[in-house]
Symmetry: C2
Subunit: 195 residues, 2 copies
Amino acid sequence: MARTQGSHSEITGPRIRAVALELFATHGFAAVSMRQIAREVGVQAGALYNYTPDKQDLLFTLMKGHMDDLLDAYDNRARPDDIVARLKDFVAFHIAFHLERPQAVFISYMELRNLTPENFAVIEELRRGYEHRLETILSEGRASGVFDVPDTKIATLAVIAMLTGVTTWYRPKGRLSVAELQEVYWQMVRKSVSA
Amino acid sequence: MARTQGSHSEITGPRIRAVALELFATHGFAAVSMRQIAREVGVQAGALYNYTPDKQDLLFTLMKGHMDDLLDAYDNRARPDDIVARLKDFVAFHIAFHLERPQAVFISYMELRNLTPENFAVIEELRRGYEHRLETILSEGRASGVFDVPDTKIATLAVIAMLTGVTTWYRPKGRLSVAELQEVYWQMVRKSVSA
DNA sequence: CTTACATCTGAACGCACGTTCAGATACGCT
DNA sequence: AGCGTATCTGAACGTGCGTTCAGATGTAAG
């Protein structure tokens, strides 16, 4: 029945997603053809359809996987009790996680408009969930008097925008390490929301 | 049948750019065809080539125009002497300017990879010039002791990312006015760089 | 060795793409 | 009234698109 050896499905499937991730991030979803993906994988275009029903689903799978990874990774961390420490942890986590997967991050921010309305709704819901985790920290901190922000919703979006921006210019060979970046950004975030 | 009305060059040219701006912002450069633009303008596709040498130039012209507008608008403002006031002015200007042209902003951030290398270099140079204006403020403020940032380059990029993020979620009908947004963001930026 | 089937090829489908250009049109000018 | 020309049409070019599918291929299991 199910082939267990010599089968290519366990190689080709992941390879297709890896190649699609790279090409979509580099050239954009609309500018990449199924034939380009197939060529890079080393198969004919028709073979891709053993692994994805269509091009749209390929994009959606990548974005959904990225958002699931993000939420799982954050939720599986130890949550510091201290609210300031929890914000610091969020900042460090967000930077480290995003710098580790620049291509998935890029796609998830740039290709939203290429999703069907149904798929878009799914991704948006996941994104809102992530933002909600930060907003909860800011709200609790404000309630207990350690943070002072005029609007927790805006502060949430402002902090995330600021942190995510790092992916647009960070280069591994640059002059600052990830740890240094985490510290620099933490100082700015900490001050910006402090009472 | 060809020309059906009077001379249109002074109407058609701007209309092509306006339609291209809207369609590129909505669907993405690669996903919009010259025929779609032409249909929206009300001409045949061939007529577009009286106004642009090719599709690439249409994109480049929009982005170059946006960056020129941005730099001109900023440089033609009265520059407050006080360095804190100058930063506050930058924050207010950046938010107001970007919220007034969400489509051009969107294109200028999202379609960079669809520019030819030569055109990309031009836009990047203009962008660096804009960033430099903010970095100068931060540097001067740090030198005179009113600002405390560990790294002016990173602080520059962080502030711009935070401010530009507002364009991704702002809706004119929303609960906050532009003036309120400017104030909220100013408080966060001020605190984040304060000594 | 044969069979079953997962996997892949290669060709084909209809359609749309960016761009070119000869010719049609209608205005400004004399 | 008629000419010159800016402007636009409509067709065409070659190319590539996403997707489908009958048939080839090669391995695992019997």
